[in-house]
């Protein structure tokens, strides 16, 4: 009988030792076995008692108050928790930290005092850079039951941000603005550890600022929280930066040079010396549908090639010129120039006119005569100036172009003869890369 009894005890012992091999304990249980602050461990209790004995006298009431908070938490009397917390926090001074931020956070989360939680976080983040708030080495309460309680609570929240451990029903009782602020401040802790959380905090902050631009914390949220989060990507930053700096860059780049094309559609003009230029009974003059100017600008100087209408129907000049950018600004550019070239008339024989065989519209020039001389001013109204593709320095401008000038032309052709000055105005559209 005795032997059987012994066997049973042995078997039971073996079974027990197998089932409770150390690996079967949770991390927390293991920590209880090895770590000191566990209460059922007599040695660590001694240490704890010793640490209490070493406690400076000003910390004694702090530990008593923390014990009260812990008891209230354990009994789930949350009104009492709030009361004791208030009492505990009055003990804070330059040299004493009665409860650390993480402890306050856990206590307010456990007692579902989310309004208090928000106030605490606001206070903490607002003063996080205030180096004068505490002494260099303040006394911090730690190593007691409340400390352990907080550690266990944090473990129970798991990997996810603590915001997702909040009780939704209680949370919904907070006003929306406070709720949003609380979410921002709780998630903020992980904003730079997890890209997704960072984006979330950014969007939350942006919509908060949209909803409550006059909130007392709005400026702080914008400068301290949102602003660094908006620049997490170098390319995005570069694009954002050039957008912000656009006007500055434009101002810096005025008079800098570039390449432009102007297309001129409308022509008005008058002049002297061309009264009897050609036989109107024999010929009919036609305008080219479009006139063009190409120019490159170096600093203030411009080289150009153009085909302009000289103010009379059918009278055109193609010429090379030199210009000077006299005035350049955000919207307006004035560029006077002088040009030399050859002029021609676009003429069409009238049907049935005597001595005229039917030919199509043809250009006849002053090939033998002297060069035509033009002095004009080109006025660009740059109504759109945009960055050229993804460039951070170069622009594309679209403009309304007006060209105003005089041309001195000497025609000496058997079909038309005249030496005079035409005054012309051409209007069109331009594109300028600079």
């Amino acid at each position: 009988m005795r032997k059987i009894g012994l066997l049973v005890i042995l078997c039971a012992l073996m079974a027990w030792s197998q089932s409770v091999s150390k690996s079967d304990f949770s991390d927390f249980e293991k920590s209880l076995m090895t770590d000191k602050p566990a209460e059922n461990n007599s040695q660590s209790l001694n240490e704890f008692e010793q640490s209490l004995m070493n406690v400076p006298s000003e910390m004694e009431p702090v530990y008593v108050a923390r014990e009260q908070v812990l008891e209230a938490l354990k009994s789930k009397d949350y009104v009492l928790v709030e009361k004791y917390m208030d009492q505990l926090l009055t003990m804070e001074s330059h040299s004493v930290i009665p409860a650390r931020v993480v402890e306050k956070q856990v206590i307010y989360i456990e007692s579902k005092k989310y309004g208090k939680l928000l106030d605490m976080l606001l206070d903490y983040y607002h003063n996080v850079f205030d180096t004068t708030r505490f002494d260099k080495r303040p006394l911090v309460a730690e190593g007691d039951g409340l400390d352990l309680y907080v550690r266990n609570a944090i473990e129970s929240y798991g990997e996810k941000n603590v915001y997702y451990s909040l009780n939704n029903e209680v949370l919904m009782k907070l006003p929306k603005l406070k709720r949003d602020k609380l979410k921002i401040l709780l998630l903020l802790r992980d904003a730079y550890k997890d890209e997704e959380v960072g984006k979330l905090v950014r969007h939350l902050s942006e919509s908060f600022l949209e909803n409550a631009p006059n909130d007392p914390d709005a400026h702080w949220i914008k400068n301290s929280i949102l602003s660094p989060l908006t620049r997490m990507d170098m390319f995005e930053f570069a694009m954002q930066n050039r957008k912000e700096q656009k006007e500055n860059i434009i101002q810096r780049k005025l008079y800098s040079g570039g390449f432009g094309i102007n297309a001129l559609f409308l022509t008005f003009g008058t002049g002297t010396g061309f009264d009897n230029l050609y036989r109107k009974d024999l010929y009919k003059a036609n305008d080219l549908p479009i006139n063009i100017e190409l120019y490159t600008q170096f600093k203030r100087f411009a080289l150009l090639f153009e085909l302009v209408n000289n103010g009379f129907t059918g009278m055109h000049t193609y010429e090379l010129g030199l210009g000077l950018v006299a005035y350049d600004s955000r919207y307006l550019k004035v560029r006077p120039y002088m040009a030399w070239g050859k002029s021609f008339m676009e003429l069409e024989g009238r049907k049935g006119a005597p001595g005229i065989s039917d030919y199509e519209s043809t250009a006849f020039g002053n090939d033998d005569g002297p060069y035509s001389f033009t002095a004009a001013v080109n006025v660009d109204f740059k109504f759109i100036t945009a960055f050229f593709l993804v460039s951070r320095e170069n622009f594309t401008s679209f403009s309304l172009v007006g060209k105003l000038g005089f041309s001195n032309i000497d025609f000496n052709h058997y079909r038309f003869k005249g030496d005079g000055t035409g005054f012309f105005m051409n209007f069109g559209l331009g594109i300028y890369f600079w």
Binding site: W220, N223, G420
Partner: protein, 125 residues
């Protein structure tokens, strides 16, 4: 005919004279900050520890070091590079927002994404 040419040239000269005024005085020039002295204190803050910047911090620029030569490979070299660059750009606060590693020429290097700020109070301390 010479008369006409003279008139044209005269008009042209007048036009240039009228139009050639100085550009708008209100034009904003990019104002780079004054560099700080080489021994000025530059604070480094990791966003993973304190995830925000002081409210009065004046933004200077965002930077990232990478595989470009001379920007540091080790963590220490990288941070020193940013401290020196900050001084050159007139900033005294480096906010380290992100970091990671990349394969360098001989070994694995560390890159940082940082914001540089100027804290008005710091310089007086």
């Amino acid at each position: 005919m010479e008369k006409y040419k003279l008139i044209i040239v005269a008009l042209f000269v007048i036009l240039v004279g009228c139009a050639n005024t100085s550009p708008s005085a209100s034009a904003q020039k990019l104002q780079p900050r004054k560099p700080l002295s080489p021994d000025a204190a530059v604070t480094i803050l990791f966003a993973s520890y304190v995830p925000l910047v002081p409210e009065n911090a004046e933004f200077v620029t965002t930077m990232q070091n990478g595989s470009i030569e001379g920007k540091g490979c080790s963590e220490e070299e990288g941070l020193t590079y940013f401290q020196n660059t900050a001084r050159d750009l007139g900033a005294n606060f480096v906010f380290v927002k992100n970091m990671g590693t990349y394969r360098g020429t001989f070994n694995t290097c560390v890159w940082f994404l940082v914001d540089l700020y100027y804290l008005p109070g710091e310089a007086d301390k």
